[in-house]
Amino acid sequence: MRRELIKFALFAAVVLVIPATIKGGYLLNVLVFVGINTMLAVGLNLLLGFAGQISLGQAAFYGLGAYLSGILTATYGWNPWTAMAVAAIAVGILAFVIGFPILKLKGHYLAMATLGFGIIIYIVFNEYVDVTGGPSGFSGVPGLSLGDLHFDSDLKSYYLIWTMALLVMLLAVNLTQSRIGRALRAIHDSEVAARVLGVNARLLKVQVFTCSAIISGLAGSLYAHTVTFISPSTFGFHFSVELLTMVIIGGLGSIYGSCLGAALLTLLPEFLRTFQDYDIVVYGLLLIIMTMFLPGGLVQGFELLWMGMRRLRPGRAGRNA
């Protein structure tokens, strides 16, 4: 546990120093979105990487968080922080309620059910025009502020969102190191065996599902208050799949892997822009190559690299002697 804390502290230090090392205003703006995506990917990883339960409806929780927060502040004039908390709680309750029937399903059926849920919520955003503004979106969401500190620049948003993301990561690291984390991994390996050993698998699955939904809802609220405009197309099925890709590319069951995956999938398209019209082809190819050669995700790649370097070192020492 102590090693984990040191690792986390190092990571947090790097994250907090990054803005000082880059000058481009635009990169900072993209890094803000990397922070939001990290939260979402970590949330999904808890569910998929640890408990082994797939969800293709994460974008729906993300969107619900954004819309609830947006509507409560812009239409009803609530304080953004209260709205954010209420939105997170509401999303959590919804996930808890639908979690019981949905998580009875396994494998493809679970994927289908969560997919269906995602699509239903998307249709609600799109068609409930009077409340959500429909397909042309919902504007006028106020930004966040703490006393006199208004989070209106990219730098301030960066620190706000990454503080939240780091908190979520700390929570996730903590959770996975605990008894609950071990129980979740046991469910992943064999649900029957876990239950025989006295793990309340059903309740635990619903709880982790709820937890990941709350994290997604929170990320959604942050998105709404940072961008100040929301529209349904951000929260479609496509985004759920993108999140899934982030988690898998990063490494299932690794919290830092999720952050890497989120960073890669958000930043890569920006760097590929030099290929102009062919950027999507290159992007796809890179993803295929990565999943082919690093099925354990980017984290596995780093581990292999580390081990390779270790093996090299004594060899070189021997040659010198």
């Binding site: 481009g24 205003g25 635009y26 703006n29 993209v30 979105f33 799109n126 068609e127 025009v129 429909g134 397909p135 042309s136 979106g137 504007s139 209106d152 990219d154 961008v227 100040t228 405009f229 529209s231 197309s233 951000t234 822009r273 999507i280």
Partner: protein
């Protein structure tokens, strides 16, 4: 030996570049956000092509007071989040003086807060009424208002003594905006809406909605959407033997619609910009020459005929050119000049 040669060559090249840059005047940078790929690519692609074509033409003719225009185009893929990021990139990294686009109403609404904060003129190519209402000094748009298009259709209906209408709108930004206008203005023209139904942008069968309309008292159908939905509506109506006059929006006013709907497109009435019918305009029309040149040039360069979506981009670049010709080259002066 070889490495020295490479180094020399590199040095020489660098010198050449430096000299070249010093001779050519500093370009004026204009940003453009179009959804070249993704669902709204039918808008973004002609817009990108047109904007690039017009800018190249301007540069060939000597640029603006000797300064060439540099167009920086980014593809938003129809995603508002991406549009916001790319707008920030255009403003902060590329230091553009003005931005053309985005292609859709949703993206424009997402980008608006950013450009307004940075005081960069934004010339949108989307039609939604929300973009320019309430008016903001930094936001402009070139596409016809939905209000105008709706008025034209209703005027036509009034002339033909049609009072009961069924509307069928697509459930995206364009359809929602049209639906709002259709509903708001109906009373003014003494029109009642008997059926108010929607269809999804990717739906492939509209017989359910059309059957409902057939059962109503509607005397005409107004279908509001962008390809391919309306083509399906036209085809299904033909299959169901519905003889009611059908009206469509400017969203389908391209040759593509006729291709998609085939025979079923026969007899459909829609309001549009003059670009589509440029060759049918009387020679006395003041816009004919400009429109014909545009359509011909576009065909020459890209092999397909220009449509009015590309026309919005043409308008946007020309609007900017006018401002630039007046000597404006900073965001603030351009903004004032356009106004």
């Amino acid at each position: 030996m070889k490495s020295r040669f490479v180094r020399m060559a590199a040095l020489l090249l660098a010198l050449l570049f430096a000299a070249g840059a010093a001779v050519a005047a500093e370009p004026i940078k204009i940003g453009a956000l179009f959804s070249v790929t993704g669902p709204p690519s039918f808008l973004g692609e002609p817009e990108r092509n047109t904007a690039q074509m017009v800018v190249d033409d301007i540069n060939k003719a000597g640029g603006i007071k000797g300064r060439p225009i540099e167009l920086v185009v980014y593809d938003t893929t129809g995603d508002p989040t991406k549009a916001v990021q790319l707008a920030t990139k255009l403003i902060k990294d590329d230091n553009v003086v003005a931005i053309i686009g985005p292609s859709t109403t949703g993206e424009t609404m997402a980008v608006k807060p950013v450009t307004e904060k940075e005081q960069i003129p934004l010339i949108s190519c989307a039609a939604g009424i929300k973009i320019a209402d309430p008016v903001n000094p930094c936001t402009f748009k070139t596409a016809q208002n939905d209000t105008l298009a709706v008025e034209r259709i209703y005027e036509h209906l009034q002339k033909h003594k049609i009072t009961k209408v069924a509307i069928l709108t697509v459930s995206d930004g364009f359809g929602a905006s049209g639906r709002e206008q259709l509903k708001n203005q109906a009373a003014k023209f003494g029109i009642t809406l008997t059926v108010d139904d929607t269809f999804g942008p990717k739906d492939t069968d509209m017989t359910a909605q059309l059957t409902k309309i057939r059962g109503s008292e509607a005397q005409a159908i107004i279908c509001w959407g962008t390809n391919p939905g309306p083509a399906v509506v036209a085809k299904n109506a033909r299959q169901l033997g519905i003889k009611l006059p059908m009206f469509m929006s400017h969203g389908v006013s391209s040759k593509k619609f006729i291709e998609l709907a085939g025979d079923a497109a026969e007899g459909i009435i829609l309001p549009t910009g003059r670009v589509i019918v440029a060759d049918l305009l009387p020679p006395s029309d003041p816009q004919k020459k400009a429109l014909m040149t545009y359509v011909m040039n576009y065909k020459q360069r890209y092999g397909v005929e220009g449509d009015h979506f590309g026309g919005h981009a043409w308008d946007a670049v020309m609007l900017l050119k006018k401002a630039l010709d007046q000597g404006a080259d900073t965001p603030a002066t351009i903004r004032e000049e356009i106004e």
